[in-house]
């Protein structure tokens, strides 16, 4: 067995000749090359195979950026003329809240990337330094968690610069400022993540939950103290001053958000005197230096932490006992299984299975709770603003569209891939005495009822806060039912018509051509429903506003803006709903019956 080795000599091994441990820099370069190659190949695949998605992403991002720019331009022009000092306060509040979000989002992303991914398992078996593996994963996580900040922050800051007539140096400094700022909360998130895994052990989830509750409670208190408890009422000068006074809590000099705000405000100074302009620029660069040096210090700390405890933390996590599930069956499952006729039992059992999977998939229900929770928080604060009837009605229809759009992202992300994922396990369902149609119908019902309850409740909340009339509330609720039906039909039908049976990741399935088409069709459907439903109400308001107290309009205009018009629009909405539900479903059912996995 032993003797002369196969590389032609006896001795220690082949490594002395062909392999060596890399220096820190060389290792970093290998990881950079890896990221570069993956990015290039991803872009190439998108350009060759997913042009529609890429074009949509670019187009929507451009529209989003442009709209935000216009919005911020108007806002800053208004504030500049009357409350210039408020801008510093707003910057501080915006950047400090963003900082908290970045800490959390990076920590969560890194937890998945560093401790739960198969890539981490591969890298940890290679002769790579733990701190370099961390740096590699950190780059990815920082990019994913901060692109939103760049997309949201850049139109705001560019608009501010334009309104202030800032010098070119301001625009030059924008990107360095944003990047150096993002590094700080992202690194803090990384440090929290690694420390929690290494030192809190199995208590980390409890600690995270407590921290989450504390942060949510803090945000709720701040929100309530600003918008809810004001005796002055929303929109008045007194209320505005109270809000500003409370926002000043974000103006703390030890916070990186303050360094960023101050640096940007200094860079944006537009003075006619060259020496003042130079002094402002110098001051701004000083703040940038503070951000960069703090970011670097935190990076050093994070790398040291990774070197000391990444491998240990990973081992600890791998070695944890999986929590035992209780054998007890949830009451909802029991109820659903038992209720109804024996004929419908297979369908109900499929529903129970999907419900169980949903409950146990944190990614699904946490996003569901977060998005609808945030929407609820926004709706809840609507009462502060004393809108007039026409404006309130417009907002209520926009809220209907927002609820629909959020629901459509869920149906695309979670419902659309369901059939593809089922395809991989098709042998289980294929061998059961269940008709294939029932599988599809169960997905549809799951999606429909899953979206109906939160959407209807949220719209009722929105309408109540806006003081909308009962008849309009009914219109919204009917539209909501139609939206839930249509969006579920589109997602389930297209999912069955265009399944991707080879892919196991729901995110990748949703990101493909079918998923993109599903999102586009869903958005068009939502727009059509909202526009058709809103037309009679707003036509009536417009005729009243422009009629100047004269006699009500007659003819087609009178008909369209009256109750008949509302009934007709609802009929049209219902018809559109039926088409959006049953056409894709029928296409999906036909394809699913023929499916050969």
């Amino acid at each position: 067995m032993t003797g002369t080795s196969w590389w032609g000599r006896s001795g220690r091994g082949p490594q002395s000749e062909s392999c060596r441990l890399l220096s820190v820099d060389a290792e970093s370069r290998v990881f950079s090359r890896l990221r570069g190659t993956i990015a290039w190949e991803t872009l190439r695949s998108m350009l060759s195979g997913a042009r529609l998605r890429l074009a949509l992403v670019v187009l929507l991002s451009a529209v989003f950026w442009g709209s935000l720019y216009a919005l911020f331009y108007e806002g800053f022009s208004f504030l500049e003329s009357i409350h210039a000092e408020v801008i510093s306060l707003l910057f501080n509040a915006f950047f400090s809240s963003l900082m908290i979000m970045l800490v959390f989002s990076t920590a969560i992303l890194l937890y998945g990337n560093m401790y739960c991914s198969t890539e981490a398992k591969l890298l940890l078996t290679l002769p790579a330094r733990a701190e370099n593996i961390f740096a590699h994963k950190f780059h990815e996580a920082m990019w994913f968690s901060s692109w939103g900040f760049i997309l949201l922050g850049s139109p705001m800051l560019v608009a501010y610069g334009v309104v202030r007539g800032s010098p070119w140096t301001y625009y030059l400094l924008l990107l360095p400022f944003m990047v150096s700022f993002v590094v700080i909360p992202a690194t803090l998130g990384a440090i929290c993540c690694m420390a929690a895994v290494a030192w809190l052990g199995s208590l980390r989830m409890h600690a995270l939950a407590i921290l989450g509750v504390v942060v949510c409670a803090g945000a709720a208190w701040l929100g309530w103290s600003m918008f809810g408890s004001s005796p002055a009422g929303g929109g008045t000068t007194e209320w505005f001053e109270q809000v500003l006074a409370r926002l000043s809590i974000a103006e703390q000099k030890f916070l990186p958000s303050w360094w960023l705000s101050s640096g940007l405000l200094d860079a944006a100074q537009n003075s006619t005197r060259p020496e003042t302009r130079f002094a402002s620029l110098l001051e701004s660069v000083k703040f940038l230096a503070v951000l960069v040096s703090n970011g670097m210090l935190l990076q050093l700390l994070a790398r040291w932490l990774a070197r000391s405890c990444y491998r240990q933390g990973f081992s600890q996590l791998v070695g944890e006992m999986p929590a035992r599930r209780q054998r007890r069956i949830a009451w909802t499952d029991e109820f659903l299984s038992a209720a109804g006729t024996a004929r419908g039992r297979p369908l109900r059992l499929l529903l129970v299975k999907d419900l169980r999977l949903f409950r146990r998939d944190i990614a699904q229900w946490s996003q569901f709770v977060i998005f609808f929770g945030l929407l609820g928080l926004y709706f809840f604060n609507l009462r502060v603003f004393n809108y007039n009837v026409a404006y309130a009605s417009m907002i209520s229809f926009l809220n209907l569209a927002v609820a629909g759009l959020i629901l459509s992202t869920f149906t695309t992300r979670f419902v659309y891939p369901m059939i593809s994922l089922e395809g991989r396990r098709f042998w289980i369902l294929g061998l059961l005495p269940v008709h294939r149609d029932q599988i599809l119908w169960s997905k549809f019902l799951f999606s429909f009822f899953g979206g109906l309850l939160p959407c209807c409740a949220l719209l009722y909340l929105s309408d109540s806060m806006l003081g909308i009339s009962h008849s309009l509330i009914w219109v919204h609720e009917i539209c909501c039912v139609v939206l839930c039906m249509g969006l579920s039909g589109i997602a389930v039908g297209l999912g069955a018509r265009m399944p991707d049976l080879r892919e196991s990741s729901p995110a990748k399935i949703a990101a493909g051509f079918g998923g993109t088409l599903c999102l586009v069709l869903s958005s068009l459907f939502i727009m059509a429903v909202v526009v058709i439903a809103a037309t009679p109400t707003h036509l009536a308001m417009a005729t009243r506003a422009f009629g100047g107290g004269g006699p009500p309009p007659t003819g087609i205009l009178g008909w369209a803006s009256g109750p008949q018009g509302t009934a007709a629009s609802l009929l049209l909405v219902g018809f559109l709903g039926v088409i959006a539900t049953f056409l894709p479903l029928e296409l999906g059912l036909r394809a699913f019956r023929r499916l050969e996995p």
Binding site: T4, W6, C19, E27, R33, E41, T42, K121, P127, R311
Partner: protein, 245 residues
């Protein structure tokens, strides 16, 4: 080459591996057998540094996996039970990444990548993205990557899963040649025929403890049964009580 020194690993209060002491010399092909939940995967994970022992030490070429993980990894190749690749890299790019990570000089990397592409017959698809590979193709690429740096120790976790008969033959031939030339192989498997055909020694784990260690002939002597069939011996050993050894 490989040394487990009184290694114990617990999951919470539950022991997964208990007081494992095992030494595998250079050039030996060792097969670890055992029923599901016996502690084979835990042992492999400790051997490749993904899991640290609760007590004791694991060493490869004299390097402690807990204290000198990088040096130990430099001497190790690992083929996991589920191949891990980057979807958006081609097979060749993946091999280059591994070669770079092991600090191989350019000319040597080129030569060895060519050699492994030829050995595992990857030429036809190695310039396609790995996302389009079948399980067998992925497994062959992972084998090529694990052997690229001519490791002193090769760790295999259920190595033949997903491979077609021809690929199985290629792997078997390669393992034979390389162990004869000095490489140590640590293999965990459920395929008794494979262990019987390839292994110099086998270890049989039951409930976290090494119940038998020796050659197949020694196992037959040890069990003192009429049957010489490895399957029967294995079943007898793994279903018997704790003092059967």
């Amino acid at each position: 080459m490989i040394e487990f020194d009184h290694v114990t690993r617990t999951y919470g209060p539950k022991p997964a591996v208990t007081d494992l002491s095992l030494s595998i010399p250079r050039g030996e092909l060792f097969a670890l057998l055992g029923p599901n939940g016996a502690g084979k995967t835990t042992t492999i994970k400790m051997l490749v540094g993904l899991l640290r022992p609760s007590r004791g030490a694991v060493r490869i070429c004299g390097y402690d996996l807990t204290k000198e993980a990088r040096s130990a990894h430099l001497h190790t190749g690992y083929v996991p039970d589920e191949p891990t690749l980057y979807d958006k890299l081609t097979g060749r790019e993946f091999l280059w990444f591994i070669a770079d990570m092991f600090g191989m000089p350019r000319h040597m990397a080129t030569q060895k990548i060519g050699r492994e592409i030829e050995h595992f017959e990857l030429a036809e698809f190695c310039d396609d993205l790995t996302e389009s590979y079948s399980l067998g193709m992925k497994q062959r690429l992972v084998f090529a990557a694990a052997l690229l740096h001519d490791p002193d120790v090769l760790v295999l976790d259920e190595p033949m899963v997903g491979l077609d008969p021809r690929s199985v033959r290629i792997v078997k031939d390669l393992l034979r040649t390389r162990t004869q030339e000095g490489m140590t192989v640590f293999m965990s498997t459920h395929t008794l025929a494979m262990a019987e055909e390839m292994a110099d020694r086998v270890g049989i784990m039951v409930r976290g403890q090494l119940r038998f260690l020796g050659t197949i002939a020694e196992l037959r002597d040890h069990m003192a049964l009429e049957t010489t069939n490895l399957e029967n011996l294995y079943l007898e050993l793994t279903t018997a009580g704790p003092d059967a050894s």
